[in-house]
Every structure is written in C-alpha cells, then in structure tokens.
Amino acid sequence: MKIPINLNINGDPYELYVETHLSLLDVLRDVVGLTGTNRGCNQGDCGACTVLFNGKAVNSCLLLAADADGGEIVTIEGLDREGKLNPIQQTFIDEGAVQCGYCSPGMIMQAISFLEENPEPTEIQVKEAIEGNLCRCTGYKKIVNAIMKASEILRNSK
C-alpha cells in the first residue's frame, strides 16, 4: 500500500508517495537521499537515527513515514546557517568529539533538543540526555565536553 504524505524537511516541502511500512529513516535516506541520518541498530536503542520531529528528538527508525505526514523534520543537514555550522556542530569539531563519526549526527540532534529545554545544564544532566545515544568508540567524555561548551556559547549568544 502506498499513500501520499507531505513532509517539511529542513525547511523544504516534500510531496512524497511512499509505502506505508517504511520508517521515516528509510524515507530520509533512501527516498529523499539525506544520508546524514545514520541507521545503527534500527530498533531504537542506539540513537544514531535521531532527528527532530515537530521540535522533539525522536528515533526516526521507530516512526513510520506515514505517521510523520504533515510534520516538520530537521536532520543534521539542516543545521548550518549561511555556510556556518551550528555551534554544537562546531564544538564537536573543536573538542575532538567526533571519532568514527557514526553516532555524531544523532548525538548532535539530541543535544540540540536537550539544550533548547535545558540551556544551563550540569554535566550529569548532559550524560542523562545522551543515555539513548551509543558511541561505540566510547568517546563520551569529549562528547559531554562539546555539549557543555556549546551550552556556554549558546547562552552567551543570546
């Protein structure tokens, strides 16, 4: 069964005609061609596929594309502004928080959603915020540092 859906992805409208069993992740990667969102476990455990759906961080592997109809989606490709990286992307680079890079898009999307609600986090809160994002390089320390530093930059820019 195929149905028509409308998605706003990174500010651009998409009219798609998709199989109802496809996840939002399947559609982002294989239909729209935005491969920055990664497929890790495909069962909601690893967080590599995290995107913002109507402003909230979700595992795009657990959401049917059909369910996302009418929704606004932001992926890692939609973060830069006028060629400038989002502060969280920049601190991930500056702090060396990217090793193999596979978890980075999901980590960054989760961090964005978290910092929006918690602009002045403690380190413990940051660790709890990324409890659903696995880094198999186990480079958590630098990821936490990057998110802490980004929170500072975001606070100072307001």
Partner: protein, 282 residues
Amino acid sequence: MKFDYYKASSINEALALKRKYSERSAFLAGGTDLMIKIRMKRFAPLTLINIKDINELQGIQNTDEYIRIGPLVTLSEIAKSDLLKNEIPILPETALMMASPQVRNLGTIGGNLCNAAPSADMAPPLIALDSDVILVSEKGEEKIKLEDFFKGPGESVLKNDKILKSILIPKPADGFKMTYRRHTLREAMDIAIISAAVGFLQVDGNIQSSRIVLGAVAPIPMRAKKAESLLDKYDGTNKIFETVAVAAMNESLPINDVRGTLEYRREMVKVLIKRTLGELFN
C-alpha cells in the same frame, strides 16, 4: 514486511476499522514497541490503524478525586507534567526511568500498558495507586481495575473489539508514601530484571492499605498480597522488613530468561523489597 495503514480520527472510527480489518491488525500509537515487534518478525500485521490523532485519548485532566491520563500521553509529557509532579510524583519519576529521551518522546503510557509486558514499568506504580482503566467497545464503556487488566505476557483484556480510553488514578491521601525501584544492568534503555512498587498510608505510626506490586517476576505485573498484609502489621521496628520481603519472594513466580535466572530473580525480589522498605521508613 508490508502492511496496510489507516488513520482513525475518532474512537468510533478506530473500532469500526478494527472490526473491518480484524485479521492480524493492531492499533498504532507511539509505535516504540510495535515497530520493533514487526521488525524482529514477532508480529506480521496485515493492517495497522493509527490512533494518534484521536482527541478523546489525549490529555491529563484534574478532578477533585482523581487524575485522568489519556492513553496517548507520551512518557515525556508525563515526566514533564507539573500537575503530576505535584499530585502523584511517582509517575513522572517512573517515566524518567524508562527508555531514552527519544523513545519517551514517542512512547505512550497507554502503549506501555496495552503492550502488556510483564516488565511494563508504568504498571506497578499505577496498580499500587489503585488505578482504574476505562475500556470502550462498540457496545459501550466499562471501568475495571488496572490490576485486572493484564492476562499474560503480551495479553490484556483488550481483544479485537476494545480500546483503552482512560487511566484514572485516585489522588493519594495525606500520609501516603510510595516508591518504585527497578533492578537493571544499565539504567537507560534496559528492561527491568525485576521491579517493585511499594506504597502505604502512614497514620500515627500505623501502616494501612499497603501495596506491593512486582514487575517482571510473573506472567503479569502482580500484587504480593500476603506481603502487603504483613506490612500492614508494621510494629514500628525494622524487623518486619525481612518477613515482608521473604513473603514477596515466595509469592513471585519468575522464569528463566536472558535477563536473569529464576533463582536470581526470587532472591532479588527479597533484596529489592527490603531495600525499598528501608528507604521508605527512613
């Protein structure tokens, strides 16, 4: 794994669709359990019926006697609800123990109950709070105790023709104390090896209406009624904790599985109940 997909915008429409597509169909809410079941090939649906847009199944409402939670309320919404934080803080605390932020943004309280896992984290606290649930079919509504809702692993009283409409939680009386603890290898994402909600009413040093509800140690979330009646006889000393904990252990009916052996689970029921009572009486 292909399936058909329909969206219902009212309870009546959802029930009519379920009757029409009764074979291998399911209601879809948060999807955080259902999508995994489908992908792991434990369930091969012909039809999914999305119920996320049904207004009657949304929202948290406050009345004098109870709080009503709509089954579509997400675990994140429960964790953040100021009303619940003030009136029944054990529910936001429990929601925060579950899964991850991303899963909590999708997963619903109704889905946690209807999925009917013996380890469903929302069940022990809600049962210990004496919650009721309202079920609706094309014939009408009925109200039952949440305690009587579960029938076995993955099975509830909901058959093809019913939908969970409301969770009603009586407001705890003054002097009501409660906690929910889970034993897991990892705090995030993990499913409980065992869990326990312990609650009671403390009036002038006496204990009344004890509730000890165990998760992941029986085919359904279960009340340890013998242990409860022993706790009601609390004599002001901590000696009774061991007796209560052993009674709960003996009432539990765990199995061996990937998360723990039968013997380990029994032993941990005793440990967790003792620990929990120690905390509550401290």
